[in-house]
Symmetry: C2
Subunit: 144 residues, 2 copies
């Protein structure tokens, strides 16, 4: 299911057709799901604008648009836990992206867990289920 | 990683704390990623409001909010390709959901493919990579 032979060689021109084909929302964004190629865990849901998708494919590392900080954000730029791109997929409505990545360090969440989706619904409550793999204070020289 | 022993026994009260803990956006929605428990494929990205999340846990089947039709939408209500809930997860920011499901019929996409994420970036183009498993004309008595 995961293609390892995808050539990550984006068009030089950021006005390219493949960027135009994405159905950016009224804020110029689309949600981007990120999944680990090896464990198949869904790691994160983040947002991309045109520039961040182009930067992702140019650099080979997942680069999102931080809505709270209103700037490009290369995931792992503080923690070192970069996400190396294996594949980028677009859904049938062209309004959501799926990144298949190699999660450097095996930890995507700022809490030190593999996945940000660690709260599980159980009988009317959200229960934390997944182990902390890395002490967050060891992950960040600066807060990411 | 996937818990099969989760008790799907939602609180009777839709004003429950667990619903209040979700960080609904300004439209009262959150994105909901759906992943197959067996193949681990990411199937869909859809949206939920408070009512659809409560209905999902009450019924045991994925129920989204259709933004285009402005109504609750039980996935598979036309095609029969329901999504039986195994687990519902919330991310660390409380603003995105992950549903782990049994995809009835093995097909989540209206095109007859397993996943809606069938367009793969390849050298400046989006290329269709995944096979059509079911003829869409056979899937729908009515258009879903």
């Amino acid at each position: 299911m995961i293609q390892d032979n995808t050539t990550l060689d984006p068009a030089d021109d950021r006005s390219a057709d493949w960027l135009d084909q994405v159905a950016w929302n009224e804020q110029g964004l689309v949600p981007a799901i990120t999944q680990a190629y090896d464990t198949h865990r869904v790691l994160t849901l983040a947002w991309m604008n045109r520039e961040s998708l182009a930067a992702t494919l140019e650099s080979g590392f997942a680069t999102y648009w931080s809505r709270s900080r209103a700037k490009l954000w290369r995931k792992g730029e503080s923690s070192g836990n970069l996400q190396r791109i294996r594949e980028v997929r677009l859904d049938c409505d062209n309004d959501a992206l799926l990144l298949i990545v190699e999660q450097i360090g095996g930890v995507a969440c700022h809490t030190g867990r593999e996945s940000c989706f660690f709260q599980v619904y159980d009988n009317g409550r959200w229960v934390t289920r997944d182990p902390v793999l890395v002490d967050p204070s060891e992950m960040y020289g600066l807060h990411e």
